[in-house]
Symmetry: C2
Subunit: 412 residues, 2 copies
């Protein structure tokens, strides 16, 4: 009875591997949706917390702040105005469900629509968290290649026709049309119209993930698919993680009541965190539109630093396109570089990167690609981290050439 | 293409019924784990938010606040001290996982241990949210009757033996030993030892839900099962919902790494809300031990009001035992009262109650019982709400007798 209890025989089949012990953040971290610590609007959040707690703090005694299961009403009211202004979305507060980050949005949409063995369509390169969830659920993800305008409509049309020939109706088309993750493209309005037409033609809903859409260098974006979809066959999700701060776990879903009522039945968490919703609503209503351009200017400067560092350290060995916004750069290295191996070697040297195969349905295509997130490290850390990454890559794969490295040492 | 998109053909089998539109809180609400609005420590939370945001606000730019996936480290450090002091639990910060309320704790423990068709043991009267989750997962819940000291060990021993004869090993024994929901009992230390012995004998882990354990009138409680369990076969969960405020969605799990590492692999939400964790840690470290006795004094006064109102309005028709703590009273009405029907009729009259069958594995036994939560309504609302409830009950079921009602009118 005093020997340690053994839980192992009780575990059900199909659990994911246990987590490893956390060992801290890498010295040079180019992973995760982290943001710039210097750009968290700390004073604004303090003022907001003071004001909203003093005015409404007592409502914390009630689950859902007496705003009901959709979430704090003033935050939903801010969102209806914001979504109208930025994304052309006409909706009311009850069309919005506040969730615990857009990850809970992914889980709720998936739980409402997917069963093991189902098929969905995704962008070939896409958010790792979306892909991992589909794998876990036993859902087949068909990847559609992208170009500079996002998901390619010729390839989508071919995939839909092919699936139909095989009697398969995909459960949704998942797209990140506005600052695509990881490629950074923005789908133009004309292509959005094509996408909506194809989706309607085949009876497939669109799952629009707009969680990076606030971070666009020139602030201009096409209307959301949700706004353009006349048949209401679009589920739209967004987040405050990128525009304010990721450790605040607040996202939202905009969907027809037919779907929201299903998701509400599955959201059995007694509401998302109220204090975060209250502080966000209080801060964002007056400050969101001035905060975001300031944030994006800072992010753009970090991106410039990253691209300069890559040019300097990797020369022509690193290929990338200047993204239109966001917090990440999608980089192609020479074909002989295996970024899964590079990831391991770089991590041992203190540099964390996202290896391409984790962000794509086509592991071979993405094998020499990687994602670098630039919002969190300082500009100095970006320069140093890219230099270390280049050294590791040269040691492991012979690229970039020594010349670039010598140049770096001269400059240092 | 312009007719509305129909999601219905895409929905998988087995979804719960869609949610109904929210219509607001009842005028007299005796349901839900809501707390007393007057007892939310608003000024303390404001001071905590100011201090912690000014000192550490920039860390909101990083998922998990650079504290790793277990949650904000200062909150886990507060908890190690609190759990040692209050519950006799010896643990370190990395034995604790901060979660989004104890509901996420239930989901993570269930996801780690349960598969469809499994069997678990629960207290016959128990938390509705736990029962609903088991139903949804297709898990068989065997209910063990309670007495004034909580789960009855003779009945547990018989159930374990019976299951063993049928070749069934239950996946866990779920218990709320410290202020049981809904009966309000506290399991004495001797019975805890018996429970641990039985669990070890049959190789069944204990799932200890201590989320009401802070709210005890005399402040005295036996050590947690987790503290007493020498074989580490106990998973312990708790919450700040009852001690501070329920709209803050912060709970925790204490478990051996063997299990925490499994739960971490399933907690794919990028961490629970950071601001709530920060504010709680900052507030609780200096103020928790003075806040809680003040809170419980107020709750005890409301319970007294509720019990007086029941005596006055229902006379001998309402039977109940004075609970040792908590926010709810478990009430027996005459056998002819069907509390599921009473629930509907009372709601139409503006009074929300929890009908007994939703809180028990034995629907017949619980059919004339109900749960009344007393923390949220004011003392005046308690008196008025119980009077309305008595009138509805008399109209629908003929009890309480008219005499009690006449008395009430005289007093009013």
């Amino acid at each position: 009875m005093t020997s340690a209890f053994d839980f192992a025989p009780l575990l059900p089949a199909g659990l994911p591997a246990p987590a490893a012990r956390w060992t801290g953040l890498a010295k040079y971290s180019f992973v995760g949706g982290n943001n710039d610590p210097e750009q968290v609007p700390v004073e604004g959040l303090i003022d907001a917390a003071n004001a909203v707690l003093r005015r409404e703090g007592k409502t914390l005694a009630t689950y859902g702040l007496a705003s009901g299961p959709h979430g704090y009403r003033p935050l939903r009211e801010f969102l209806t105005a914001k979504l109208k202004r930025d994304a052309g979305i006409d909706c009311v507060a009850d069309d919005i469900l506040i969730v615990s980050g857009s990850l809970q949005a992914l889980d709720l949409v998936n739980a409402t629509l997917l069963a093991r063995g189902d098929t969905v369509i995704v962008e070939r390169e896409t958010y790792q968290g979306a892909l991992n969830r589909l794998t876990r659920l036993g859902v087949n993800a068909v990847g559609i290649p992208l170009d500079q305008e996002g998901m390619r409509m010729d390839a989508l049309a071919a995939a839909l026709a092919d699936l139909k020939r095989h009697g398969v109706t995909p459960k949704y088309i998942y797209t990140i049309p506005t600052v695509q993750n990881p490629t950074g493209t923005i789908m133009p309005e004309a292509r959005r119209a094509e996408l909506l037409k194809l989706a309607a033609q085949y009876g497939v809903p669109i799952f629009e993930d707009d969680c990076y859409a606030d971070l666009i260098w020139d602030g201009k974006r096409p209307p959301a698919l949700y706004a353009m979809g006349r048949n209401r066959g679009v589920i739209h999700i967004g987040s405050f993680s990128k525009s304010i701060a990721p450790a605040l776990r607040v996202g939202y879903i905009v969907a027809p009541w037919e779907m929201l009522s299903r998701m509400l039945a599955l959201k059995t968490d007694a509401g998302s965190g109220a204090l975060e919703q209250m502080v966000l609503a209080e801060y964002c209503a007056p400050h969101f539109t001035s905060h975001v351009p300031k944030l994006t200017r800072g992010l753009r400067a970090k991106l410039d630093t990253l691209m300069e560092a890559l040019d300097e350290q990797f020369g022509t060995a690193a290929e990338f396109r200047d993204p239109k916004g966001g917090i990440f750069l999608w980089v192609k290295l020479p074909d002989n570089v295996d970024t899964l191996k590079l990831y391991q070697a770089a991590l041992a040297a203190g540099v964390a990167i996202n290896p391409g195969p984790e962000w794509s349905t086509d592991k071979a295509y993405a094998g020499s690609r990687l994602r670098l997130c630039f919002a969190s490290p300082s500009r100095e850390q970006i320069r140093e981290g890219v230099a270390v990454l280049a050294e590791v890559c040269r040691r492991e794969f012979g690229v970039p050439s020594r010349i670039a490295n010598v140049e770096k040492q001269v400059r240092a």
